[in-house]
Symmetry: C2
Subunit: 204 residues, 2 copies
DNA sequence: CAAGTTTTTTACCATTTGGTAAAGTTACGA
DNA sequence: TCGTAACTTTACCAAATGGTAAAAAACTTG
């Protein structure tokens, strides 16, 4: 996309990473339209035309970010293993999601922004990448339920609720910080609550 | 703000409503910066300077929307009554939140956008309006728990999880539509799932 | 170290966008 | 029905913004 078709140099790899890192924070908090090239340039100590040297356009940065992070973002779901203990597999997935909310709130908000706005740049990716994975993992969960290992319920809605609750802590942090001050205890309280909640829901 | 201090005329009331209605949809899906005055003008069949006649600036429209809708948005939480049956009060609240997600997805997304971006225009309002209400209702829930009417857990996190799950259906609809096609059955399935889930969590 | 290639910087441009000035039109009370 | 105040429209502007051209600088390699 950016260069015809050549192996990227060291400087290229480095600087694209710098750009992505700066853009991630800005897109996550101001959205695509709310972020300017000048802001990105500023945040990574480059000049605007230099960005365009590495990425064809502002949109190209955004798209690259979404694509790059998508895989990483979905890996915990993929890691849920049909052979493991059902309850512990799902709880393990929830723990990893909570951890990601804490460690990578920018990524969470980037996706939140994109989806809230109708996923204009990600719909095809959702169809082609997320959907098959989602259906597969729903199938695994459904089987666990049929085997009586966990309580029966709609697998898709179960996953939605896991996403909703775990990502809420990253996406709505501004609100949570107002309502539940005291940063230190919050994360542990959240982890404990969410695990307790889903254990209770999933226990047959 | 807009006019010194006079009772609004019929035309004024009408047109401000038209502007708010158009702006609500646009701000909800494109965010504040992603929405232009021209788009709003177009959407409500007015000309740009006419908007500025009714609202001092684009930001004034946004702020008015947030303030106008905040109260309405929080009313279900306020309606949770300490004298009622604890489990049914909370389930009733959840039902109302699900209904609002279905009937007013634009409002939900407007707030989601605002909070994800750090609530730049709403933080004071959260402090002054939401926080007291939140603390009060947390207190009611805590008492219900102490009395053994519902299972014990952290009331604040319980409310967060209710918000997360119910609003998820409005805010992430684009994703849900891809993963769970078939519009008609979805809403009922969601309602049933969410009610089942929280009943299970809350039952002592 | 010289020639060529990659990267950075400066100067610039066209379009978009939030907003204004002021003339024109409509509604409405006396 | 007439005058005035409320409302609408046209024409316009300054700043911001995404992006380009091309020269300058730095790096790579024979």
């Amino acid at each position: 996309m950016t260069s015809p078709a050549r192996k990227p140099s060291r400087i290229q790899t480095e600087n694209r990473q710098r750009i992505r890192d700066a853009a991630l924070g800005l897109f996550a908090t101001h959205g695509f339209r709310g972020t300017t090239l000048d802001q990105i340039a500023d945040a990574c100590g480059m000049h605007k035309p230099n960005l365009i040297y590495y990425y064809d356009s502002k949109e190209a940065i955004h798209i690259d970010l979404l694509n790059t992070l998508m895989e990483e973002w979905l890996s915990p779901l993929d890691a849920m293993n049909a052979e493991g203990d059902p309850l512990e597999e799902i709880i393990g997935y929830i723990r990893r999601k909570m951890e990601m909310s804490r460690l990578y709130p920018r990524e969470s908000r980037l996706f939140a922004n994109e989806i809230v706005q109708g996923a204009p740049r990600m719909l095809p990716h959702l169809e082609s990448t997320l959907k098959p994975l989602f259906d597969r993992q729903c199938g695994i969960i459904a089987k666990w339920m049929k085997d009586g290992k966990i309580a029966e319920m709609h697998p898709a809605h179960l996953i939605f609720s896991i996403w909703a609750v775990t990502q809420h802590y990253a996406d709505f942090e501004a609100q949570i910080a107002v309502l539940l001050p005291g940063d230190d205890k919050r994360a542990r309280g959240a982890d404990q609550f969410v695990e307790m909640m889903f254990r209770k829901v999933l226990t047959p």
